[in-house]
Every structure is written in structure tokens, then in C-alpha cells.
Symmetry: C4
Subunit: 238 residues, 4 copies
């Protein structure tokens, strides 16, 4: 009898080729999203106490279900394999904070639960596309590393440069090289909030050069990824 | 005699391979644009009453013509086919609000009329290019879905993260996770209005990571589309 | 004797395969840039009168030289051919405003002179690359037209949408559909000056959809151009 | 005996195929980053004197080590070859400012030390990828030059245009064509700080055209680089 129950549970929790298995996965995903929504709603400052209590209860229930799921997976899978697998660690991170925190407010840690959502890709059977993409990624890894170093280099150089141009006139905003780094980030990514910008002629000319070089450096890696991905798709479809 | 009239009207309204048919389509398109312009002009606050009346009359005339066109299409086409086709529903949406609203101000619904403009592509004989593009689109659909989920995930994670960094210092701006989502959107798309930006060191470092990851995630789908489209063009021209 | 002079002048002005011809072209280009710089300097409000007079004189001299060049080109080339050619009209536009303006301030028209700079490409012998690029451009013309119409459509739809969300709360900024169009432009291009942005929840959700769709629409044409150009280069080099 | 010492030092400093040589290179890299961090920390205004002294000492020690390294490289390498090589000049620039400055504050020059970091690419054995990228770069050089000139042209034209539209209403911000150039840069790169933006109808319509043209011009070169790089990778891997 136990063997039969074991088999049924195995089918539901571990096996995702059966109908029951897929349904179980979908329920878990819905619970994850539910717990994320309730977590987000709790941050609303205008929330009344009654609703807050309901949301908390939803979260607690979700955590209990996730814990049961986690324990079942450990028991049913080859123990070690699952516990130290990528998904095993994520599942642990998603429930652990709830049990180890007491007294102190560690609400933020709860957000790790979102990582569980990565199972979604497995569920949606996109593994082939993801494999293809990680293959394409590996091919251009060297180029991406070079661009990454070049961007870091440009970020630092532009921070130092703008510091020397703007610090004398705007000592409040361009306080130090580290403060100027924030300007480098918002400018090279073209976000441009407008909280920091050069006002000296030198700073403006320097920014002009930096931003045009930066546009190239920042845009090329995305382009590399895009073309590499398309080639991977093309090859596998030919 | 009636048969002859029927035939002529059919030629004008439904058939777009004849000269008359094309002229009729062009007139309808011009009326659509005219009605959109008059609709937009009506929103101007400084508009004097006289002009407002003229614009209203133009709109009413346009709607009557569209109604006649719609009825003719129903009569002339195989009724059901047209009524429940894509263009049939659009044409209905474009005139319906005018007849069902009375008393309440439903001016905004009138904007559905713009959907009629999609007939333009049919008129301009770009169907081949559109087919080619939707073929290319299908090939990379899986990749686009993955990126779409990844972007949603990043939007949420960045909203939660910035909320924890900035809420204590800027409780007015980063009120809740939902309010922080707006920051995520404007930052990851690099719009950067400047209405919300991090001021804590932790928030700035977090944003730096998020914006660089985000730039990649947001730019790659457009790149994928562009390369897929070009390959589609190349193949069909070889 | 006259024939010899004619031949020498022809060599200098029209023929750009000889050493003298190239030198003449370079001198004209330098004069164009000189006249543009002096024109720009004149807009500086802190300029003293003495320098202003010098700059004006430089401009007048440049114009006289351009006029002589223009007349020589008319005489030396097959008259009609040059006068109604692209470069002929540009050269005329570059000098005409100087002669027809009197009394009224038409300084702005002088800027047409900059068009003369397009001769630079001819001078730099990049015609092959430009040809290759315009070939690539033609191949994807249909796609570009479709995207152009789609962008126009999205600009209008987003302007109407944001008008309905934001006009009731920010009637000063989102005055009419036309005023809202400016928001559409700055948002869809991700410039995001911060002079106009949604503050209602509806407006923010609407903007989120619009900006993600818009990012795709706006980025794809540049990507199409880039991949088409590279394929053109590849083909001609194989 | 001296020969043996010479050989060992040669192995450590010049040869980077041996274990010792690689370790030496890594130590130098760490020192470069250490000296850059200490340099950046010194710009912090809240720094106490004690820490400032420690940072200064770190910098001095780093410079001494770099000097010894530089002298060793000159002695051990074929003298002339190294001194006038790219890395030789960079190494000199990284230490020279320390010795020639006295009295006057030339802290900014110290930043040249960062250039030493380029040795990193050699250390990381990415030379093959860099070669491949510079090959791809050469292939599209002509196209990049054309786009570079076109961007310069557009920057100038947009500055002149916006000056004429906005100067009469915002003389403080759009003071001259040169001041307007800053607007052109922040707009065409889509940074959009919000320190300068058009408020007239004419200026807004003009900006709309400019920013859409500009988006294409600015985005295409990055796309060209990306596709050219991917083709280079593909070719070398086939």
C-alpha cells in the first residue's frame, strides 16, 4: 500500500510528463504568483489592518505548501542530487527565511521566493530554446567579456573626467569620483534622470565624447547577443 | 436593372482590383484621417465654439458615410464572413460608439475609428512584406516569449529591490512595490523622466546592476526581430 | 590663349581627378566650414562688436568665392545639366539668400550653406560605400515604410490615450491631443526629458504598455538597416 | 651568477608563458587597481587626514614598484623596441607625472595609470578575439566614417535649427548655436537630462523630425559593429 501511495505522490510531484504532474506544477506556480502579489500588496502604506492580516495568512499558507513540496521532493528524488541542484537550492532559499527569522523584520528576504518562478521555463517546455540561446551565448562569451571590461573602464574614466570638470562648480553633486560614477551610469546607459548633468563647457565637451563612445560600447553586446541567437535558431531549423 | 446597380456597387465597395474600387478605398482613408484630425482638434482647449460646431459636423458626416459603407459591405459580402472578420469587427467598433452613446460623454471611444486605418496596408499592397515579417516573427516566437517573461521578472525584482533601498529615505516617491514598478519601467526602458530616482548609495549600486542587465534584456528582442526580418527578406529575394 | 585658360580653369573647378582639382575642392570645403563657424560664432550673445565685424567680413568673402565658383561651374559644365542637378541647386541655395535678403533678417536661411558639405563624400571617394548602402536601403524599403506607418499610428494612439488619462489631473501639461503628441515623441524615443510624464495610475500602466511596444517598433528599423548594410558589404567582398 | 639572476628576472618580468611570469603580471594588475581605488578614495570630501595619509603612502609605494618594473622592462627587453612600443609609452605615462610634478596639483594626470590596465587583455589571452574584432572593424570602416560625418552634420543642423526656434523664448538656455549643440547631443543620444528642451510648437515639431532621424543614425553604427563581429566569429569557427 505504501508503495502505491509513494508511486502516486512521485507521479504528482516529481514526474512532469503525466497530467497530474503538470497540474501540480501549475498549482505551485499559481501559489508562487499569489504569494508574490500578497507580499507586494503588504507594502502599500494605505492598507487597512484587516486586509493585511488576510494577506499574511495567505503567505503563511503558501510557505507551508512550499515546505511540504520541498520535503516531498527531497524524499522522492535521489536526496543529494536534488538538495544541491540549482532548483533545490532555490526552493530552499524560498522557504528558509520564514523559519529562521523571528523578531527582526526580514520581509525583504521573502522575495527570494520569486526565484522559484524559474521552474516556469521547465514547465513551459522552452528548454530547447534556452539551450540554443546558451549555446549562442558561449560562442560570443569572449567578446562579451571584452566589452564588459571596456564598459567598466569607460565608466571609471568618465567618472574621473567629469569629477575634474564639474567638482569645482558643482561640489554638492559631483562630490567625489564615486559620486560621479552614478552620473557615468545614468549617462552611458542613456537613462539620463536629470539629477546630475555637466554645466561647464569642458564637462559638456567631455560628456559628448564619452556618451558617443559609450553608446557604441553599451549597444554592441545586445546586438551581438541578438545576431548570435538568430544564427543559432537558423542553424537548428535548417 | 437592380442587378446592374448591385454589380456596380460591388465593384466600387468590395472589389479593390478595379480603378473605381481603389478610388473608393482612398476616399474612405481620407475620411478616416479627416475624422481623426477633427477629433483631435476638438480636444484643444482654446477652440472657439464656431469651429467646434464645424468639426462636430464633419465627424457626424464621416460616421454616416462609414455606416453606409459598413451596411453595404454586409449586404454585398457573404454576410457572416465579413461581420465576424477582423476588418468587419473593426469597422463596427468604429461606428458603434456613436449610436449607443447618448447623454454620457464617450468621446474617447470614438478613437477606435483609427483602427479602420489598418485597411491602409491592404490598400498599399504591402501584404507580402507583412506575411514575410509574420513568418520571421513566428520563427523567433519562443525566444521572444522567454525574453518577455525575463523582462517581467526583472521589472518585478527591480521594483522590490529599489523599494527596500529607497522607501526609508523617499517614502513619498517609493511608496510601495507597485509605485516602484513605475521606476523600473522608466529605468529599464532608459526613458528616465527624472520623476523618481535612487538617492541612497545602496539604491544606486542596485540600479547600476539592474540597468545594465535590463539594457541587454530590453534591446535583444528588437535585435532578434531585426535580424529575423532581414533573413526573411534575403531568403525570399535569393 | 582663351582656350588654354578655359582648359586650366576647367581642370581646377570641374575635374576632380587632377591634383589641382582636388586641392580646389579641399579649399572650398575649408571655406564652407570656416563660414559655418563664423556664422555660429555670430550667435554668441557676449560677442564684442569688433569680432562680429570680422566674422561678417569672413562670411561675405566666403559668399563671393562661392558665387564665383557657382558661375564658373555653370559656364564650364553643360549649363542645364549642372543648374538643375542636386549639387547645382544646393550651391544656388547656399548663396542665393545673401543676395535676395535686404532689410529683413534672414540669417537662418544662410544655414543652407551647410548642404554644400555633401560634396565632401564625393571628395572622400566614398561613393562606392554610399551606393552599397542605398542598395541595401532599397531592399528593405517596404519594411521601413510599414514600420514608419506603425510608428505614426502608435504615436497618435499613445497621444490620445495619455490625453484621456492625464488631461483631467494635469490639464496644464496634457492640454490637448496635439500637446500629448510631444509626450509620445519623447517617450517612444526614450529621450524622456521629464517635462511631461503621467502621474495617474491608469496613465502609468498605459505608458508601460506603450513604451515597451514602442521600444520594439523604434529599434527594429535601425536594426534592419544595420543587418542589411552588413549583408551588402559581405556580398561585395566575397 | 649574474647571468642566472638575469635569467630569473627575465622569466618573471618579460616572459608571461611561465608560472612566475603570470603571477608577476597578476600582482602588477592588482597594484594598478589598488592605486586606482586609493586615488578615487582621496577625492572623497569627508575623508579624515589619517586615512588620506595611508592612501597617499599606498600610491607612492605603487608608483615605486611601477618604476622598478618599467626600468626592468627597459633593461631586459630590446631597449628601443619596448620604450617606443604602445605598452612602453603607457607604462611611462603611468609613472612620469609623479616625478615631474612638484608644487602644482596634477592629481588628474595620475589617472593615466589606468591605461596600464590594458595589459589585462594580454594577460587574459583575449588577443585572438580582439584581432577578430579589429578585422571586422576594418571591413565596415568606410560605413562608420560616413555615419560619423552624418552624425556630426545632424548635430550641427539640429543645433542651428533649435537655436532659431527656441532662442527667442528661452534665450537663457539656448544662448547660441554652441549652447544648443549640448541639447543636440543629449537629445540625439536619447540621454535627455531635461536641462534643455523645446517649448515652442515649432521647436517641438523640429525636434520630432530630428530625433527620429537621429535615432536611426546613432543606432545603425552599433548594429553594424555587432553584425560584423558576429560574422567574424562565425567565419573563424566554421
Amino acid at each position: 500500500m505504501i508503495k502505491k501511495v509513494y508511486k502516486i505522490i512521485h507521479e504528482i510531484v516529481v514526474d512532469d510528463s503525466t497530467k497530474k504532474g503538470r497540474l501540480f506544477d501549475i498549482i505551485i506556480q499559481v501559489l508562487i504568483i499569489l504569494s508574490l502579489i500578497s507580499f507586494s500588496l503588504e507594502t502599500l502604506p494605505e492598507l487597512n489592518n484587516q486586509l493585511y492580516d488576510i494577506l499574511q495568512k495567505i503567505e503563511v499558507v503558501c510557505i507551508y505548501i512550499f515546505t511540504i513540496e520541498y520535503l516531498l521532493r527531497i524524499i522522492l528524488n535521489n536526496k543529494k542530487n536534488y538538495m544541491f541542484s540549482f532548483f533545490g537550492l532555490i526552493d530552499l532559499l524560498a522557504i528558509l527565511p520564514f523559519y529562521i527569522t523571528s523578531g527582526i523584520d526580514l520581509r525583504s528576504v521573502r522575495v527570494f521566493r520569486i526565484l522559484k518562478i524559474f521552474r516556469l521555463f521547465k514547465l513551459l517546455k522552452y528548454t530547447k530554446s534556452i539551450d540554443r540561446m546558451s549555446d549562442a551565448f558561449k560562442k560570443i562569451k569572449n567578446e562579451l567579456v571584452i566589452f564588459f571590461i571596456a564598459i567598466l573602464f569607460l565608466l571609471y574614466v568618465s567618472a574621473v573626467g567629469i569629477y575634474y570638470f564639474e567638482n569645482p562648480v558643482q561640489p554638492e553633486k559631483f562630490k567625489s569620483v564615486f559620486h560621479s560614477l552614478w552620473w557615468s551610469v545614468t549617462t552611458l546607459t542613456t537613462v539620463g534622470y536629470g539629477d546630475m548633468y555637466p554645466i561647464t563647457i569642458g564637462g559638456k565637451i567631455f560628456s559628448t565624447f564619452i556618451v558617443f563612445i559609450g553608446l557604441g560600447l553599451v549597444a554592441v553586446p545586445s546586438g551581438l547577443l541578438a545576431t548570435a541567437f538568430t544564427q543559432g535558431i537558423k542553424k537548428s531549423k535548417d
